[in-house]
C-alpha cells in the first residue's frame, strides 16, 4: 500500500519535473515554422533595379529566398557565402532572391555593393512578405521547390555548402524533416 502510494506520487511528480526541465531547455524565443512542406505564399517584389519579380514567374525553378537587413551582423557574416553559392549554381535551374526587411534603400544598396551581391534583391516595404513567411529572426532563408513548395527553412547565418545542398534537394522536391538554425538577430 505505501509503495503504491509512493509510485503514484512519483508518476505525478516525474512528468511535471520533466515538463519543467523541457521548458527550461527550450529557446523560448524560437518560433517553429508551420510552413515547411506547405506551398510558398506568392509575392511580387520590387527589385532595387526597378524591375518587379514575382514568385509565380519562378515556377519550375528551385528558389532560395533570403530575408536580410544591412544592420544585421549575421546577415553580413553570411553575405559572401551566399554570393559564393550563387556563383556556384547560377547556371543551373535555380535562382536566388534576396529580400531586405526593415532597412533603408541607401543602406541596403550599400550592403549589396559592399558584398558584390549579384543575384536579384528587393525591399519588402512594409514587411508584408516577411510576415507571409513567418519571419521573426534574420537572416532567414527559405528553399522552394519547382512546384512552389517550401522544402527547408534556415533561421540565422547559413554556409554556402548548405545552401547548395539544400537547393539541390529542393530541385528534387525533397522536404527536410526540420528547419536549421544558426546565429540570428531578432527583427526590430
Amino acid at each position: 500500500m505505501p509503495v503504491r502510494r509512493g509510485v503514484i506520487t512519483l508518476l505525478i511528480i516525474g512528468p511535471l519535473l520533466a515538463l519543467l526541465a523541457y521548458g527550461f531547455t527550450r529557446d523560448s524565443h524560437y518560433i517553429v515554422s508551420p510552413l515547411l512542406a506547405k506551398p510558398a505564399t506568392p509575392f511580387t517584389l520590387k527589385l532595387f533595379d526597378g524591375r518587379d519579380l514575382s514568385l509565380a514567374d519562378l515556377r519550375g525553378k528551385a528558389v532560395f529566398l533570403n530575408f536580410w537587413a544591412s544592420w544585421c551582423v549575421p546577415c553580413r557574416e553570411e553575405a559572401r557565402e551566399l554570393e559564393a553559392a550563387w556563383q556556384n549554381i547560377k547556371d543551373k535551374n535555380m535562382i536566388f532572391v534576396g529580400v531586405a526587411v526593415q532597412d533603408t534603400d541607401q543602406n541596403a544598396l550599400e550592403f549589396l555593393k559592399e558584398f558584390n551581391i549579384s543575384y536579384p534583391n528587393g525591399k519588402d516595404e512594409r514587411a508584408k512578405i516577411a510576415v507571409d513567411y513567418g519571419t521573426w529572426g534574420i537572416p532567414e532563408s527559405f528553399f522552394i521547390d519547382p512546384q512552389g513548395r517550401i522544402t527547408y527553412k534556415h533561421v540565422g547565418g547559413i554556409r554556402a555548402a548548405l545552401v547548395v545542398s539544400k537547393l539541390e534537394e529542393a530541385a528534387k522536391s525533397i522536404v527536410s524533416a526540420q528547419e536549421g538554425k544558426g546565429d540570428y538577430s531578432a527583427v526590430k
Partner: protein
C-alpha cells in the same frame, strides 16, 4: 427665417456632410478598436509575453497594419487570427484555442483543481472520522480508576521500539505520559511548581493518558496481550523490516525530489531569467537563446571596469575585469578591455594575447578585432595582418560612424612595406642583439619523438617566473604562433607583464599549447623547463627542450 431653395440645398449638403464625417469618424474609431482587440490576442514575435498591441517594436507595428488592412478588406477577426496562425503557428496566439490539442491547456488546470479539491476533501473527511472515533468512545470506569489510582499498571506489554505499528506507538505514548506524570509529581514535591500549575498540568496529562488508554483498550485483546517470550513470529519481522525500509525510502525519495526541484529552480531559473536591460529590451530569457547573459554581479563588475577604463583608472579597471574573468573566464569583453589596458601600458604582446583570447571565444567580437588590428598596425607594424583583421571587422560593422572609423584606419595602413613581426622573423632578428644585458635568450627545441604529434595550429608560450615565487603569476610571457622548431627566442622587459621589472633570478619554462590558451592546460600540451633554472637576466643559451606531454 425663410430659406431660399439654394440655401436649403446648401443646408442639406452641410447636414449630410456632417453626418458622413461623423460616420467616418465612428467607423475609423471602430476599426481602431477592432484592430487593437485583435492585436491584443496576438503575440509579438520579437518580444516575450507582449502582445502585438502593446509592443513598441517595428515588427508589431507592421503586424498591426496588416490586421487593419485585413479588417478593411472585410475579414473577420477569426480569419485574421487564422492568417497569423498559418504563418507563425498556434504560438502566435496569446490565448490558446479551446479546440484540439490546445483545449487541454484550458481543461487541465480545472481538472487538476478538481482533483485537488477532491483529494483535500478526502483527507479532511479522514481526519474528522478519526477524531470522532476517539471522542465518541465513552469513558470506561476502569480507565478512570487507573488514572485516579495507579494510572498505568503493568498489565500492558512493554513497547517494541522498532515496531512502527499503531499499537506500538500507543504503548510508547503511554510510557511517555507515565514518565511525564512521574516527573511532574517529582517537580511538585521538590517545590518547583505551584499547586495550581501542578493541578492544571496533571489534568492535561491525565486527559491525554485517558485518550491513549481508551485507544489501547479499543484494540483487539490479542493486540494488547503481552507478547510471548519466544521470538516474534516469522511473518512479523519481514513486515517490520519492510516498514522500516519504506520509511527510509520515503526519506530518500523526498530528499531526492527536493534536491532535484531545488536544482531545477535554482540553476535553470537563474539562467533563464535576467532583468530587462532597458525599456527597449524586450527579451527577458536567454537560456540557449544565443544572447549573452551574465549574472548581475558580472554585469556590475563589467560596468565598473568600463567606467574605470574610461576615467583611465587602470588599476581599478584591472581589478574589476579580473573579477569578471574569475566568474566568466571566457568573457570576450573583459579580455578585450584587458587587451586595451595592456596596449596603454605598452605591452603589445600581452595585449595581442588578450585579444586572441577574446577572439577564441567570439571570433567576430568587434572590440577584440579592433584592438588586435590596432596592435598589429601600430605596434607590430604587421600591415598585412592588420589589414586582414580590419577587413574582417569591416564585414561585421553596419554603416555608421564606427564603420567610417574602420575605413579611415584601413585607408591609413600602408599598402605595402612595414616589417611584419611574424614570430620567426622577430626571433631571428632578436638573436642578433642577444648580447643586450636586459635579455634572456636561448633556443626552444622539441623532443624528436614528439615532433610528429604536434598540432600545427598550436602556440608556443615562453614563460618567465620569478624563482622566489615558486608558482604564481608569470613575470613575462612571449607567445609565438605556429612555431617551427628549433626556434630562437629572447625575453626582455618588453615581454614583462603589467610593467613588472624584468630582473632577478628567473625560471624559464616553455609550453606548446594546443588551444593557444595560456591559462588552461589541455591534454596533449607539450612543455619543458630550462634544466639549470634559475637564470639571471642577461643569460644566453637558455635552451629548453619540450619533452613532457600533459595527460
Amino acid at each position: 427665417m425663410k430659406l431660399t431653395p439654394a440655401r436649403r440645398v446648401l443646408a442639406l449638403f452641410l447636414l449630410l456632410g456632417g453626418i458622413v464625417h461623423r460616420l467616418d469618424a465612428t467607423s475609423a474609431a471602430d476599426l481602431e478598436d477592432q484592430t487593437r482587440a485583435i492585436a491584443t490576442e496576438l503575440r509579438c514575435v520579437v518580444c516575450q509575453n507582449l502582445s502585438v498591441a502593446d509592443s513598441p517594436s517595428e515588427m508589431a507595428q507592421q503586424m498591426r497594419a496588416i490586421v487593419r488592412e485585413q479588417l478593411e478588406a472585410g475579414k473577420s477577426p477569426d480569419q485574421i487570427k487564422d492568417f497569423f496562425v498559418s504563418k507563425y503557428g498556434e504560438w502566435v496566439l496569446l490565448k490558446p484555442r479551446t479546440t484540439g490539442f490546445s483545449a487541454l491547456l484550458w481543461i487541465l488546470p480545472y481538472v487538476v483543481l478538481g482533483l485537488g479539491v477532491i483529494a483535500g476533501l478526502c483527507v479532511i473527511q479522514r481526519w474528522v472520522r478519526k477524531k470522532q472515533v476517539i471522542s465518541d468512545r465513552p469513558m470506561q470506569p476502569a480507565i478512570s480508576q487507573q488514572l485516579s489510582g495507579e494510572p498505568f499498571g503493568d498489565e500492558f506489554p512493554q513497547p517494541d521500539l522498532d515496531d512502527d505499528s499503531h499499537k506500538a506507538r500507543l504503548l510508547r505514548e503511554r510510557v511517555r505520559l507515565q514518565h511525564e506524570l512521574a516527573d511532574l509529581d517529582f517537580d511538585f514535591q521538590a517545590g518547583k511548581l505551584s499547586e495550581s500549575d501542578y493541578v492544571s498540568l496533571k489534568q492535561e496529562i491525565e486527559a491525554k493518558a485517558a485518550t491513549v488508554l481508551q485507544e489501547i483498550s479499543s484494540l483487539p485483546s490479542d493486540a494488547i496481550a503481552k507478547p510471548a517470550p519466544k521470538p516474534a513470529p516469522a511473518r512479523t519481522r519481514p513486515q517490520q523490516a519492510t516498514a522500516a525500509q519504506f520509511q527510509l525510502w520515503k526519506i530518500i525519495a523526498g530528499g531526492t525530489f527536493l534536491l532535484l526541484f531545488g536544482l531545477t529552480l535554482g540553476v535553470m531559473l537563474t539562467k533563464a531569467a535576467r532583468p530587462r536591460g532597458s525599456e527597449n529590451d524586450t527579451i527577458t530569457g536567454d537560456f540557449l537563446t544565443g544572447t549573452t547573459s551574465g549574472s548581475a554581479e558580472v554585469r556590475a563588475a563589467l560596468d565598473e571596469g568600463k567606467q574605470a577604463f574610461e576615467k583611465q583608472e587602470f588599476p581599478k579597471a584591472i581589478e574589476a575585469f579580473k573579477k569578471v574573468l574569475a566568474t566568466e573566464p571566457n568573457n570576450p569583453e573583459a579580455h578585450s578591455y584587458m587587451g586595451f589596458i595592456l596596449v596603454q601600458a605598452g605591452h603589445g604582446d600581452g595585449a595581442l594575447m588578450a585579444f586572441d583570447k577574446a577572439l577564441s571565444q567570439a571570433p567576430n567580437f568587434p572590440m577584440a578585432l579592433w584592438g588586435k588590428g590596432m596592435v598589429l598596425y601600430q605596434d607590430k607594424k604587421d600591415y598585412a595582418g592588420a589589414r586582414e583583421i580590419f577587413q574582417r571587422l569591416l564585414n561585421l560593422v553596419p554603416p555608421g560612424e564606427e564603420r567610417n572609423e574602420v575605413l579611415k584606419v584601413l585607408a591609413e595602413i600602408p599598402a605595402s612595406g612595414g616589417t611584419p613581426s611574424r614570430p620567426a622573423a622577430t626571433e631571428k632578428s632578436a638573436t642578433t642583439v642577444s648580447s643586450s644585458s636586459g635579455q634572456i635568450s636561448g633556443k626552444i627545441t622539441i623532443d624528436p619523438k614528439l615532433n610528429a604529434n604536434t598540432d600545427p595550429n598550436a602556440a608556443l608560450f615562453i614563460i618567465a617566473r620569478p624563482a622566489a615565487s615558486g608558482g604564481g603569476p608569470p613575470l613575462a610571457v612571449k607567445k609565438i604562433d605556429r612555431p617551427t622548431f628549433p626556434i630562437d627566442y629572447t625575453l626582455s622587459q618588453d615581454n614583462a607583464m603589467m610593467g613588472m621589472p624584468f630582473t632577478g633570478k628567473i625560471n624559464i619554462t616553455a609550453r606548446l599549447d594546443k588551444d593557444s590558451n595560456p591559462v588552461t592546460r589541455t591534454p596533449g600540451d607539450i612543455s619543458g623547463d630550462y634544466k639549470k633554472n634559475p637564470v639571471e637576466v642577461g643569460a644566453k643559451n637558455v635552451d629548453v627542450t619540450l619533452d613532457q606531454v600533459a595527460r
